[in-house]
Amino acid sequence: MNTVVADITYRAMLGRKRILLLVLLPLALIAVAGLLRLIGGSSEGTAVTLMKSFAVGTILPLLGLVAGTGVIAPEIEDGTIMHLLSKPISRPVIAFTKFVVAASLMALFAALPTFLAAYLLVQNESGIAYGFALGALFAGIAYAAVFLLLGVLTRHAVTIGVIYALIWEGLVGGYVPGARTFSIQQWAQSIADQVSSSAFFKADVSIGFAVPAIVVVTVAALLIAGQRLRSLSLTGEE
């Protein structure tokens, strides 16, 4: 962990247009929850549906994409990363620091609003708010690592990330039960299911698989990102 790298990365994430996306998405989630409460739709079933399909199914991967790729991909694209890479700091340390920044943003802009939205609807009925917030936190960490890796590997990180989140997790996962096993949002639901006692949902992936999968994917993505950053080729204008 390097505090200078973290400082520059936070400034880049929070001082630019990206903050709008980081703020607007969770605000939309809280606004929908508030609206449902106003019109009297704050039942446990509604809360679970909103958390599953909107909070964990839509907002979480999108925020993961913004935070995970945002901490590194634009710097590689415009060459500003040279300022960090041309210093006597181990490249895996740079990758890890950027991951910590992305993971902390996920905690702030994904897990916390998920808790607030669920709490707004049903307080802590059946542990739904705590369950989905915890699921969003762990899955947010995994998303941050995976999308950070994508940002190091390819200039098309956002496109590939959108394809993964929308097509693999959203579409294929909806029809092919086997695909759900390899879906970060399904792992988030497994954690939520473990914490919550709600009868309105049952996770498709066992907690025994989901937690180790989150750990393995996060660690592997970070290790690969660190190594790839060591071999990152940057060329000039020629």
Binding site: D7, R11, H83, L85, S231, T235, E237
Partner: protein, 317 residues
């Protein structure tokens, strides 16, 4: 008994050594089998656009792996070796500056990333060196291109490196800023630092570099002092302009010697094509004295960097 070993040139601190370096992208060869040693002093890396200068500089800076061959600094491998940056300062051609930071924050961050014992003092000194103290509290995105270039130089110098690599450093600077940076580069070279800068502007290289390395179409075309390079081009006659008390008589005397390929009488004096540089320069005063002619002016017309460079990039048909 004490045994003292003398380090080879390549392992001396501050010496960048490329040995048989090639770099290709698919079927395109960007740099082809380049071997060169860059030591203390100012070296200009010269070549037309697309010659491979930037690729070579990025290999030396550890941002590109050679497809073949090795690049070392003081005997240490450069590629995948982050410790090497304790000794290297890099000024890339790309903007590469965080626009949302102030000049001070940018240079201070470089000092802190180098873990210098007194980063504030180092950043102040570096900004002062490039005359950017007055604008240090403005955000970099509000700077002109020349100011950004100078703040990048300050960040590259903040840790007082042995080696400074600059990719087209004078781009975007106004004439005064350019002269100031040229002076700074010359001074640092004179202090014993290894400075390599790439440029396609001959005048810049001529004014700053003691040594030139010329790249043409990915190959290392020439190395050394450009006047020496010119003298080694024995397949091209040297052209001299000579003014004397009697040009016609001198022309007749010179053409009799085989070292003169052609002599023409022009309004500005004689234009002599010397086939053998050494023989001609020894012969001319003697011939003039024997012919009773006084020499007023003898000046080579194609020994400037521009002529040397054009000969290198346009081989004789």
């Amino acid at each position: 008994m004490t045994v003292t070993t003398v380090p080879t040139v390549a392992t001396r601190p501050g010496v960048v050594q490329l040995s048989g370096v090639s770099r290709w992208y698919g079927n395109v060869v960007a740099v082809n089998d380049v071997t060169m040693t860059i030591g203390p002093g100012v070296t200009g890396l010269l070549g037309p656009n697309g010659a491979g200068k930037s690729t070579l500089l990025h290999i030396m800076a550890g941002f590109l792996a050679p497809s073949n061959g090795t690049a070392t600094l003081g005997g240490q491998q450069i590629w995948r070796n982050h410790d090497i940056y304790r000794h290297i300062g890099l000024v890339p051609e790309r903007e590469g500056v965080y626009g949302f930071l102030t000049g001070w924050q940018f240079v201070l961050s470089a000092a802190r990333l180098h873990r210098l014992p007194n980063p504030d003092e180092a950043a102040t000194r570096a900004l002062d060196l490039v005359e950017m103290t007055h604008a240090k509290d403005r955000r970099v995105e509000t700077y002109s291109k020349g100011m950004r270039q100078r703040v990048k130089v300050a960040a590259a110098l903040v840790h007082d490196p042995h080696v400074l690599l600059l990719d087209e450093p004078f781009n975007g600077m106004d004439p005064r800023q350019r002269l100031h940076l040229m002076d700074l580069v010359r001074r640092m070279g004179a202090e014993g630092r290894t400075i390599l800068f790439s440029s396609h502007i001959l005048e810049e290289v001529e004014r700053v570099a003691e040594q030139i390395e010329v790249m043409v179409a990915g190959r290392h075309a020439a190395s050394g002092d450009y006047r020496e390079i010119r003298r080694r081009m024995t397949d091209r006659p040297h052209i001299f302009r000579v003014r004397s008390s009697d040009d016609r008589r001198l022309a007749a005397a010179l053409i009799a010697d085989p070292s003169s390929g052609a002599v023409s009488l022009t309004d500005g004096g004689l234009e002599v094509q010397a086939l053998d540089f050494g023989r001609f320069t020894r012969l001319l005063p003697r011939v003039a004295r024997d012919a009773g002619v006084r020499l007023w002016q003898v000046s080579p017309t194609d020994e400037d960097l521009e002529s040397v460079f054009s000969y290198l990039i346009q081989p004789r048909a």
